[in-house]
Amino acid sequence: MKCNNEAVELMHKYLDGDITKEQEQTLSQHLESCDACQRHFHELKRTITFIQSAEQIKAPANFTATVMEKLPTEKKRIKYTRWFKAHPMLTAAAIFFVFMLSGMFSVWNQDSELVVSKQEDLVINGDTVIVPQDVTVDGDLLVKNGNLIINGTIDGNVTLINGKLIEEPIEGEGLMASVGEVNGELKHVDQVFEWIWYSIKQLFQSVFAL
């Protein structure tokens, strides 16, 4: 066996784990008899140990942060999704709020029918509700999507939603009559936000009434 070619070739095969059993035997027999090759083999193994013992080099302290800063900006949608995942309570509250608002809006928009809480003794003329002069309404009155003319007396609160309180009778025949009286609060709601506020107040009132 020629030292400088075949043996060295086998040494490298050995180091790469490519050597066959027979070749390994040939190599070890040769190494026993040849000092030069033994030294060569030893030096190779030592070199590998040296390389492996080379100083460990660490990245600069703020390396990751710098890389993250330099990345192109991500899509907004993903950013929001992650934010929602990070703040589940706020997300739940926001979703609840959105549903509540949309519910109220739809109620506000859909109901354009005239609604009156009490029908007895009241005169309904188109979209106008009239409390006749000699009538006393006992209790609260709610009128929705209609106007209200009070000539009589109401013993309770009046709530007007999306409508107006008309001070003078339409036909003009009651001009001389005194304007009716309300023995309670008169609430007038005709803005969406007021309607929302009214709904919330109602909600709280019903909650605390329990």
């Binding site: 790469d16 040296f50 013992s53 080379a54 990245a59 990751t64």
Partner: protein, 187 residues
């Protein structure tokens, strides 16, 4: 750890940028070290290592999930370092080969003046000496020696990282080992 990286890569592919932070912090030392050994100076190493991670992020969709992410990342980093070495102006760098002398460069000339091979170098100093010797190897041997013995990739993986045939990897690792053996035999 591989499972964690796999999971993060999935998230990054879906567009979650923050998942990439774990990937960077897991590989930062390995990639930086690889770049440092390829380039031989801290400034360029940081520059190229950062560039490697940014490229990996931007091109994440071309990464095949069935393969090893580390192999892919090292491939990007290695290609960038080799590009950088090619673009260098030879005169400005110590490890550029001196004209008319094959395999000889400024480092070996400095070494001749400053330190005797027989000089005893221990601990950190020995490590620095080895580092210097590794840097003297031509890039095509250096990258393979480092990937094999410092990053501990298999020869097959190295062939994938460098996109060269397995036979070529073997030839180069033999030559690299022999070259280093000659340089380190007196230590």
């Amino acid at each position: 750890m591989d499972e964690m990286i796999r999971e993060r890569i999935k998230q990054v592919k879906k567009g979650d940028q923050s998942a990439f932070e774990d990937v960077v912090s897991f590989f930062q030392n390995k990639i930086y070290q690889h770049c440092y050994r390829m380039l031989g100076n801290a400034h360029e190493a940081e520059d190229i290592a950062q560039e490697a991670f940014i490229r990996a992020y931007v091109n994440i969709h071309s990464f095949d999930d069935r393969r090893k992410f580390s192999t892919w990342l090292y491939r990007i980093a290695t290609n960038l370092t080799i590009d950088r070495i090619r673009k260098r102006k030879p005169d400005h760098y110590l490890d550029a080969e001196v004209k008319g002398t094959e395999g000889l460069n400024m480092y070996s000339q400095l070494a001749d003046n400053g330190r005797l091979p027989e000089e005893e170098v221990e601990g950190l100093e020995l490590q620095r000496y080895i580092q210097q010797e590794i840097i003297q190897l031509p890039p095509k041997y250096r990258s393979i020696i480092m990937l094999r013995y410092i990053e501990e990739f298999s020869l097959q993986e190295i062939s994938e990282i460098l996109d060269i045939p397995l036979g070529t990897v073997k030839t180069r690792i033999h030559r690299g080992r022999e070259a280093l053996r000659k340089k380190l035999r007196h230590v």
